[in-house]
């Protein structure tokens, strides 16, 4: 059963992927898309370093701050992107650009934490990262695959920003590709995106692994009979689920070799591109939250060369992801959020760079639950301030929750006993960009 696509969508898909149309839609994905039990998924595209959104989504051509990039039209009338995002521009009708983002945090560590958790760092209170919060709401605790996967996070700026905080290790992300930021392109990318320690050690035969596990079960059975305890139960359950993951069909999601070469090429043979492909595969299998990280955006020097290069990678990966999700009928139930920790200064510095600028920058919501084809909010002509009502981090995150059908006011118990809402109650949902 194939989802219906308009002719224009088909053209978009095929042009973007450079594929012939025959035999493209795998049945598995199509069935997944129409499965009534299917819940929503979220893909966070995290741009580490603070991307120069004034050169990508909110250009000021003709102004001294504008820089050399031109604007291009997109698939959404009236909405223009920077010239180095041409493939993405064809998906503008599925995207809502929030141009009025504004915070007071210009420090990488604090801002990264703020954008990821919706809260500023506060002493001992350990706020959970967005992925943990959302996957807790949407994930199935008995699922084969972990509910939250993080691809190549760069945690140096803020360890806490990427972890489950007070929700505990059960909501920690499965991390792949860590320590490979800015890593090699080419074939090593898929080796790097494997689950750590998922494979049986080489010297251990399958029979041996099975009998080891039998011995373990014996030992645990004996020990636990008269020691009722939560830690014990958690230990056993973690081991059972780890073994399930090792043996599961679901774990094959991480094997990118299953994808045709052309698809892998279309996403881009780099960590980000292959990470986006992995995200699609995971979402297809019901994983509710995947975070894909991309670095290099801290362009204090040579901003324009760097941004052009980075946009090449971003454009290929993100546009292919959008097209791929749409083609498989998954876009309606998958919300994509694109952001960094802040934007960059309109004023170009003496190194042809742009510095940190948290007063006014852009973030993007796309896909499921989002009314695409529009820009929300605006900045002044010189780009230095928001013109009108600024959008805070809680507002953005609450809007994301709304698009996904998650109640952002729901509370969780924190490590200091205080109940903490998913998003602070001061948040204002941007109604005009939610379906």
């Amino acid at each position: 059963m194939t989802p219906t696509l308009s002719r224009r969508d088909w053209l978009g898909v095929s042009a973007g992927l450079g594929l012939s149309l025959s035999g493209w839609l795998p049945r598995l994905a199509a069935e997944a898309a129409v499965n009534p039990k299917r819940k929503r998924s979220c893909i966070l595209l995290w741009m580490n370093g603070g991307p120069s959104t004034i050169d990508m989504f909110d250009l000021k051509p003709g102004h001294g701050n504008g820089g050399p990039f031109k604007e291009i039209v997109t698939s959404a009338p009236g909405l223009k992107f920077g010239e180095h995002l041409p493939k993405l521009a064809r998906h503008a009708h599925e995207m809502a650009v929030v141009r009025s983002m504004s915070t007071k945090e210009g420090d990488h560590g604090r801002a990264t934490y703020y954008l990821h958790t919706g809260n500023l760092p506060q002493g001992v209170l350990q706020f959970p990262t967005l992925g943990s919060l959302i996957s807790k709401e949407l994930g199935d605790p008995a699922a084969d695959l972990p509910n939250f996967v993080s691809v190549a996070p760069f945690r140096a700026f803020s360890q806490g920003a990427f972890g489950p905080g007070f929700l505990g290790p059960n909501f920690a992300p499965l991390v792949v590709g860590e320590g490979n930021f800015g890593a090699p392109a080419g074939d090593t990318a898929d080796r790097v995106l494997k689950v750590p320690d998922l494979d049986r050690p080489k010297d251990v035969s399958p029979g041996q692994a099975d009998s080891r596990y039998d011995l373990l079960r014996d030992l645990d059975g004996g020990f636990g009979t008269d020691r009722p305890n939560a830690s014990l139960a958690s230990h056993r359950s973690a081991y059972d689920r780890a073994v399930m993951l090792m043996q599961s069909v679901g774990a094959k999601a991480f094997d990118l070799h299953e994808e045709p070469m052309k698809v892998r090429d279309a996403y881009g043979r780099n960590i980000f591109g292959q990470g986006c492909l992995l995200a699609r595969r995971l979402v297809e299998r019901g994983v509710p939250f995947v975070e894909v990280n991309m670095g290099g955006w801290d362009t204090h020097q040579n901003n324009f060369d760097a941004v052009q290069r980075l946009c090449g990678t971003l454009d290929a990966g993100w546009s292919t992801l959008m097209a791929d999700l749409a083609a498989r009928g998954l876009l309606e139930s998958t919300t994509v959020i694109w952001m960094g920790e802040f934007g960059r200064t309109p004023r170009i510095n003496q190194n042809k760079g742009r510095d940190h600028h948290q007063n006014s920058w852009s973030a993007v919501l796309a896909g499921g639950g989002v009314k695409g084809g529009q820009a929300y909010g605006q900045t002044t002509a010189d780009g230095s301030k928001v013109d009108g009502e600024p959008t805070g981090v809680p507002d953005l995150l609450a809007t994301l929750c709304q698009a996904m059908g998650v109640d952002h006011l729901k509370t969780n118990n924190s490590n200091i006993g205080r109940p903490i809402r998913i998003v602070d109650k001061s948040a204002k949902v941007i109604k005009s960009i939610v379906v």
């Binding site: 002493g123 290790p169 320690d197 009998s211 645990d220 006993g417």
Partner: protein, 530 residues
């Protein structure tokens, strides 16, 4: 008993003042109803008297005493942060001396590992931000060195806290930072970002046992702390800013402005008392005087409670930092007794620790033998506790004979231990520690365990496997002793020895022994403190 009468009178005054001020009334100072505890042994007996009364009053049948193996392992984990070495385990089990438990306890307190472990425990509690945060990790060694010295010299706890809270600044005005001395408690201010409110909140939580963080921004919904009380406490630390033009420029600040308001509050003690200021004494020293005064109702009680929690997995007041009407001590008279003993013995934490581990209550088995033992607040069986990342790694190292080749200075930042510990660190309650799938994968397939269970790479395993003198049964015994610190039960011995003799899955006795070793290291019994 004049001192006793005086402190009682002071207590009345306090109670009256606080009642008048309409603030939360402090718990009454402990009444001395038992004789002063002069030795840990006396206190241990007192603990047992209280517990027996508690169990009787609640119709509880306490669990039986733990056997030697169970107790030995528990003592080593609690006091040294690691399981017993295989040789020590065998020696202890074979020892026929009826007084061996007390001798072992005395021996453990004298081992260097005791101080190392307790210093780590305190650093994790007092400098939580230094655990994972790259910005602050480098502060741990200097802090630990300072703390270790204090504990080794048996410095009374009130003096330790005094030194911690009034540490002279490491910043030198315009010349900037003095650089990290090799030992200093100054990190306490650094990890709290030199913010008065952060330092005050940490001091209140750790040393008064009162978690007042919430009141920073608003009046606490359920506890009686008001926002003003928080800032009055923070005002004592208002001079904590690092950059000062010159030492003589330091204006003694005794007040603080509440952020986002125009209100300025004066420093005031938590019980509502106004300090008697002395020009020669800094506000922080003034605060510490109040905090560590013998009649202060928070300080000693907090430490007594936390020490209990360290060994039993839960405090007599639990959570340890949320006292209140709905969180009364499980055994009030016992907490009073421990508090009084702490004060009377010069705030000596080791005194209390020795008493606790010598008590019968501590030495109960963790097996539940009667349904009346189910409620953890009864302490009628020892609670099963999780292991910290440090305890797990150090135990694995000991069990496998792993030697860390990372140079000492670098161990804070990287290396096998650090990487492993980072994967297992948590702030959960130790009796409810969870295991994640990734942690399970690390233990099952990760490099560390794989190498240490590989026949060719693990020195310890190889030694056992290759030995020509031991029977299969004896080899299995050794593996159990090295990992679980006990010999196998009859049924276990039969099962595992016959598995090895059959050669396991690949008809190879040596591989089968490695399988047994792997299973033991991955077992829940190994990964828990019971």
């Amino acid at each position: 008993m004049a001192a006793c009468g005086k402190s009682w009178a002071v207590g009345l005054v306090f109670a009256a003042v606080t009642a008048a001020a309409g603030q939360e009334s402090a718990p009454p100072p402990p009444r001395v109803i038992h004789a002063k505890m002069k030795t840990p042994d006396e206190l241990a007996k007192a603990i047992d008297r209280h517990m027996e009364a508690h169990w009787k009053a609640n119709n509880v049948t306490p669990a039986p005493a733990a056997d030697d193996a169970e107790l030995h392992r528990r003592l080593c984990l609690d006091l040294l942060g690691q399981i017993p070495a295989v040789g020590d385990a065998r020696t202890f089990l074979d020892d026929k001396d009826p007084a061996k438990r007390d001798r072992k306890i005395a021996e453990l307190f004298s081992r260097p590992a005791f101080l190392n472990h307790y210093v780590t425990v305190l650093r994790l509690a007092w400098l939580p931000q230094a655990t994972d945060n790259q910005q602050f990790q480098f502060l741990s060694p200097s802090f630990e060195t300072w703390l270790r010295k204090k504990l080794k010299d048996n410095t009374p706890t009130d003096q330790i806290v005094r030194d911690l809270l009034t540490a002279p600044t490491l910043f030198n005005g315009r010349q900037g930072f003095n650089g990290n001395p090799s030992e200093s408690p100054f990190a306490f201010n650094q990890v709290n970002e030199f913010k008065p409110e952060n330092v005050a909140a940490a001091a209140s939580r750790l040393f008064m046992g009162v978690k007042i963080e919430c009141a920073q921004c608003h009046n606490h919904p359920t506890a009686p702390y008001k926002k003003e009380q928080f800032w009055e406490l923070a005002a004592f630390f208002a001079d904590v800013q690092p950059t000062i033009a010159s030492v003589s420029d330091v204006k003694v600040k005794r007040e603080i402005k509440i952020p986002d308001t125009t209100k300025v509050v004066q420093a005031k003690f938590f019980d509502g008392q106004t300090p008697k200021w002395d020009a020669a004494k800094s506000p922080r020293a003034t605060f510490v005087d109040w905090l560590t005064a013998k009649e202060n109702p928070y300080f000693a009680r907090n430490f007594a409670n936390r020490l209990w929690a360290h060994f039993f997995g839960a405090g007599l007041i639990d959570p340890v930092d949320e006292p209140g009407d709905d969180n009364q001590p499980a055994v009030p008279a016992l907490l009073d007794e421990l508090t009084r003993a702490f004060i009377d013995n010069n705030y000596d934490q080791q005194f209390l620790m020795k008493a606790i581990v010598q008590s019968k209550a501590y030495q109960l088995t963790s097996r539940q033998t009667h349904p009346s033992q189910a409620d953890p607040r009864l302490f009628a069986r020892m609670a099963v506790k999780g292991l910290s990342g440090e305890q797990l790694f150090d135990s694995l190292s000991l069990a496998t004979g792993f030697v860390d080749s990372t140079p000492r200075e670098q161990r804070v930042f990287g290396g096998t231990r650090r990487d492993f510990v980072a994967k297992f660190s948590t702030t959960e309650k130790i009796t409810e520690k969870q295991t994640s799938i990734l942690q399970a994968l690390t233990m099952m397939n990760g490099r560390f365990v794989t190498e240490q269970t590989a026949l060719t790479r693990s020195v310890f395993l190889d030694g056992i496997v290759q030995s020509p003198f031991w029977t299969t049964r004896e080899k299995v015994d050794m593996l159990f002793l090295a990992t679980l610190s006990r010999p196998p039960a009859a049924a276990e011995a039969e099962r595992f020895a016959s598995y090895v003799d059959r050669g396991g899955a690949d008809n190879d006795k040596k591989k089968a022994l490695a399988d047994v070793f792997w299973a033991l290291l991955n077992s829940s019994e190994f990964s828990l403190n019971h």
